[in-house]
Structures are given as structure tokens and as C-alpha cells.
């Protein structure tokens, strides 16, 4: 009994320490988004509190917000980067989810040997460090540039994001597929569905939860990607991550991006919370 209690205490301490380590920078970002100071070496409470960084996200008149002139062009490029991030993430998530689901249905129907081969190819990019994936994709795009004159930028980043998102969709959808009765598809065909119709009406609904969680994975990986984007984006195109990297290397980061980060964090929190409560409700209904 005594060792039990000691263990529980020890484990609780480790759990708290783990979460402190993970959350400390998140907390610092949160606090710094509310202080007036431009400095990134202090929390800046002595300079007073402000909402101007949040306001600067939604206005173009930076002087009215009392933001130093030399920061205003940075804030403009940041907004551009935010737009890019969302354009890339929404497009790549949708495309990767559709393709990934299609590929999973295909992989699921393969013989064991082929299936293992496809899964090996599928899992490789997940294990490979981003810097190598980025370098390999860069090589493809350099070849495309040499042959077809395809410049690096939006399209290459989009292809790269689709590339690293698909494996997560496949890994989320495949387990669902192997749970459904292999007769489902044939039954739908026998009942008069076309091939496409059988897939959409019989298979897709039964793997929907897998597709949704795959899409969530793809979205999470894409919106935060830094290394791969940096490799394939060329010099002009930025998403938020490469923008921040570029900013600190030059010594300028307006805290507008801290405000942006807090907003995204809160939106994610709400989405995940709603998603969870819907799921638990569904579970109750089924029971």
C-alpha cells in the first residue's frame, strides 16, 4: 500500500513535469501576445498590456495602432503568409483525404505481399526525417524546373504537402477498411449499384470516422509544417512557419504572429472539443 502511494505520487510528478515542459513555450507565447514591448527577450509586462497585436491582424492602419513603421511591412508579409498557409492546408488536406481514401480502398484489396510493399512505401515518409524528405522533393522539383521550367512556389509546396499528408490518411483509413465485411462491396454491386455508387454508398459511410481522423491528421501536419515547406518553396513563397524562421534570422518578428498563434490555438481547442463531444454522444446513442 505504501509503495503504491509513493508510485502514484512519483508518476503524478512526472506527468506534471512532462506537461510543464510541453506547455511552457505555449504559455510564453500566450503571455507575450498581450504585452506592448517589441522585445522578444522578455515577457514585457513592464511595458504594459495591449490588444494591438490582435488588432493588427484585422486592420491595415498600423500607425493608428501605434506600431513602429519598420514593422508594418513585416505584418503585411505575415498576412500574406497566413493566407498561403490556409490556402495550402485546405487544398492539400482535401486532395490528400480523397486520394488517401482511394488508395486505401485499393491497398485493402491487394494480396498480402503487395499490401506489405505498398504499406512500406506508405510509411517511409512518416519515419524519414523532414529534412531528408524535403531534400528529396527539392531534387524532383529541381528536375522539373530544369526540364519544364516549373518555378518553385505555390504548386510545389502544394504537391509536397499532399505527399506527406497522404500516408497519415492511409494509416487512419486502412484499419477501418479491414473491419468491414468484404462482402459489402459485392452486395452493393448485386443490388444494382454502379462501381462508383457501391464505393460511395456502401464503403465510404462505414469508414467515415477513419476518413475524418485522417483529414484531421493531414490538416494538423500541413498547417504547422516548416522544414519541407522551406525546402520546396523557393525564395519568394512563405507560409507562417517559414515566415517566422525568416523573421528571426533577420531579427524582426512583430508580435502579431504571437496573436495569430493564440487565435489558431483557441480555434483548434474548440474544434477538438466539439469533435470529442459529438463522438461521445454518438457512442452513447449506439449503446
Amino acid at each position: 500500500m505504501k509503495t503504491n502511494k509513493a508510485f502514484t505520487t512519483l508518476f503524478t510528478i512526472i506527468l506534471i513535469l512532462s506537461f510543464t515542459l510541453i506547455y511552457l513555450p505555449v504559455l510564453v507565447i500566450f503571455l507575450m501576445s498581450f504585452t506592448k514591448s517589441y522585445s522578444l527577450t522578455t515577457l514585457g509586462f513592464s511595458s504594459g498590456l495591449t490588444l494591438k497585436w490582435y488588432a493588427s491582424l484585422f486592420t491595415k492602419d498600423y500607425s493608428a495602432l501605434d506600431i513602429l513603421y519598420r514593422y508594418s511591412s513585416n505584418i503585411r508579409t505575415l498576412k500574406n503568409a497566413i493566407f498561403n498557409t490556409f490556402a495550402i492546408t485546405l487544398l492539400s488536406t482535401s486532395i490528400a483525404t480523397i486520394l488517401g481514401t482511394m488508395f486505401s480502398i485499393g491497398i485493402n484489396a491487394l494480396s498480402k505481399k503487395k499490401r506489405t510493399m505498398m504499406l512500406t512505401l506508405n510509411n517511409m515518409p512518416i519515419v524519414t526525417p523532414d529534412i531528408v524528405t524535403g531534400f528529396l522533393l527539392l531534387l524532383v522539383f529541381v528536375v522539373l524546373e530544369t526540364i519544364f521550367g516549373l518555378k518553385r512556389g505555390f504548386p510545389t509546396v502544394l504537391i509536397a504537402h499532399i505527399f506527406f499528408s497522404i500516408p497519415y490518411v492511409v494509416l487512419s483509413v486502412l484499419p477501418r477498411l479491414s473491419q468491414i465485411d468484404p462482402n459489402t462491396y459485392e452486395a452493393a454491386r448485386d443490388l444494382g449499384c454502379s462501381r462508383m455508387g457501391a464505393l460511395i454508398k456502401a464503403i465510404i459511410p462505414s469508414i467515415l470516422t477513419g476518413i475524418i481522423s485522417g483529414a484531421m491528421f493531414a490538416f494538423t501536419m500541413s498547417i504547422d509544417d516548416f522544414v519541407i515547406t522551406m525546402f520546396v518553396s523557393g525564395t519568394r513563397f512563405h507560409n507562417v512557419s517559414t515566415w517566422i524562421d525568416n523573421g528571426w534570422r533577420r531579427g524582426y518578428i512583430p508580435k502579431t504572429v504571437y496573436a495569430y498563434n493564440v487565435i489558431i490555438f483557441l480555434i483548434a481547442f474548440i474544434i477538438i472539443l466539439v469533435n470529442r463531444s459529438i463522438q461521445s454522444k454518438n457512442r452513447k446513442v449506439k449503446l
Partner: protein
């Protein structure tokens, strides 16, 4: 067993028609994984690097530059040593934090477990580069932002970044262990420690291996953390690759570094595939 197989054989055969849906994926991966890997190998062993004035000549000069010149002594080997030491420390400490955390979560009630899971994935929504930059701020505030502490600071920042990637796979295998298995172990006379070391721990090996690979490989190749935390004074393997790609005409030597990294990746990958063929612990 044979009976079951017989019943399943027929629809499976018909299902094979759907297998064609995976063919485009094979083509896609061929162009985005296989082809660039071949280009990488060619570039590591030649002098051609896509620039207009480069010649296609087979040579080992890239390798002798990395391993044999004064560059090897002053830059490459120290960077390799540092990278391995730092990522080894990060992996070990992550494991020491992650296992008890995941184990503890396994035995909590469903509701609390859900909240902790939520808290674990949520930080991934906070931009990674911004989190690294704010670690620099944290070290500045607590007075550790001195060159003597840089390596220590890098380790801390990396642990903070990669800890969830160690906790999640371990938790996902621990969660799958049936309560009945653990109860059975008690019923057969094992005490808590014996049950842990003979039942729970062996059953969680696949999660541990995935976690180790998912932490070790990224920390080995990190360049943003070392750049930001040390103001570009500490050079790791990732920084070497980064510089080659940012600088001009460095693709050949960069390919050598990438090949070295790929060798470790393949080793790790084989290890993961051995314990987890379907990649269940990877997400």
C-alpha cells in the same frame, strides 16, 4: 481456420478489382520517393548538381571531402558527435518522462484520459518555429542564455518539442492491452512488479520502438533548434544539410550528408516495420 479461409476466399478474389485504385499511388511514390533517391545517390557520387556549368563526372571527391579533408576533422566529425550525443540524451530523457506518463494515463478513468489526450495533441497546433523562438525567450528570462548552456538548452527545447511523439505511440499500445491480461497475471500469482516486467512492458515494446525512432531521427536532423537557441554557433548534422541546400553549389556534399541520414533512417525503419507491420503505432 481452413474453413474460414475458404469462405473468405471468394469475395476477396472479387475485391481484387478494387486493387487497381492503389496503382496511381505506386506511380506517385515512384516519382516522389524512388526517382529522387536515385538522383540523390547519383549526385553523391558525381560532380553534377543541375547548375549549368557543372560536369557529369563520376568521382568520390564529395566523400573524401566529408570524411577525409580537414573539413572532416574540424566540422563533420564534431557535428556528428554532437548530434548523436544530443539526440541520444533527448531520446533517453523523453523515454523516462513518456513511459510513466503514458502508463499513468492508461489507468486513469475515461474522462480524465480524454482530457489528457487532448492536452497532448493541442500544443502541436502552436507553431513549432514560434515555440522554438519562445524557448530562447525563456532561457533569456531565467538567465541561461549563455554560450556555456547552449547544448543543455538545445536538449531541453528538443525534449519539449518531441515528448508528445514519444508519449502517443507508447500510450496507444498500452491502451490496447486488455485489463483481463493484467488481471490474469495477478491471478496466477505475479505481483505488481512481475506483472509489469513480464506482461505490460513486453507488450508495449512496439510502441517504445516507434517512439524512440520518432524522437531520435528528428532530433538527429534538427537544425532550427540549434540555430535559434545557439545563435547559429552550434553546428549539428541538420545544420550541415541546411547550409548545403541554402548555399550555392552544395548539392553534392549535401547528398552525401543526406545519404548518411538515410542509412540511419532505413535502420530505424526496418526496426519499426519488424515490430509493427501495419504502422499502427506511427499515428
Amino acid at each position: 481456420m481452413t474453413n474460414n479461409n475458404y469462405v473468405e476466399a471468394k469475395p476477396k478474389k472479387k475485391l481484387k478489382k478494387l486493387g487497381i485504385l492503389s496503382t496511381p499511388y505506386l506511380v506517385w511514390n515512384f516519382f516522389l520517393i524512388i526517382i529522387p533517391s536515385l538522383i540523390l545517390i547519383v549526385m553523391a557520387f558525381t560532380t553534377y548538381d543541375f547548375s549549368s556549368n557543372s560536369e557529369f563526372k563520376i568521382s568520390l571527391s564529395n566523400w573524401s571531402y566529408v570524411f577525409g579533408s580537414s573539413y572532416a576533422k574540424t566540422v563533420f566529425w564534431p557535428a556528428m558527435g554532437r548530434s548523436f550525443l544530443i539526440s541520444f540524451l533527448v531520446t533517453v530523457i523523453c523515454f523516462l518522462f513518456a513511459y510513466p506518463t503514458a502508463y499513468f494515463m492508461r489507468f486513469l478513468n475515461n474522462k480524465v484520459r480524454g482530457i489528457i489526450m487532448l492536452l497532448l495533441v493541442l500544443p502541436l497546433w502552436s507553431n513549432q518555429v514560434l515555440r522554438i523562438v519562445s524557448w530562447k525567450t525563456i532561457f533569456e528570462i531565467i538567465g541561461l542564455n549563455e554560450s556555456g548552456f547552449y547544448q543543455f538548452n538545445i536538449v531541453i527545447a528538443m525534449i519539449s518539442m518531441y515528448l508528445p511523439y514519444m508519449i502517443l505511440p507508447i500510450y496507444s499500445v498500452l491502451e490496447k492491452i486488455d485489463d483481463k491480461v493484467i488481471e490474469a497475471s495477478y491471478d496466477l500469482g505475479a505481483n505488481k512488479f512481475e506483472t509489469f516486467f513480464k506482461v505490460t512492458f513486453p507488450l508495449s515494446i512496439s510502441g517504445i520502438i516507434s517512439g524512440i525512432i520518432m524522437v531520435f531521427l528528428p532530433s538527429l536532423t534538427q537544425f532550427e533548434v540549434s540555430d535559434a537557441i545557439s545563435d547559429r554557433t552550434i553546428v549539428m548534422l541538420g545544420n550541415l544539410i541546411y547550409k548545403r541546400f541554402k548555399g550555392t553549389g552544395g548539392f553534392n556534399v549535401g547528398s552525401v550528408f543526406s545519404l548518411i541520414t538515410i542509412i540511419f533512417t532505413v535502420m530505424g525503419f526496418i526496426l519499426v516495420m519488424r515490430v509493427d507491420k501495419e504502422g499502427e503505432t506511427l499515428i
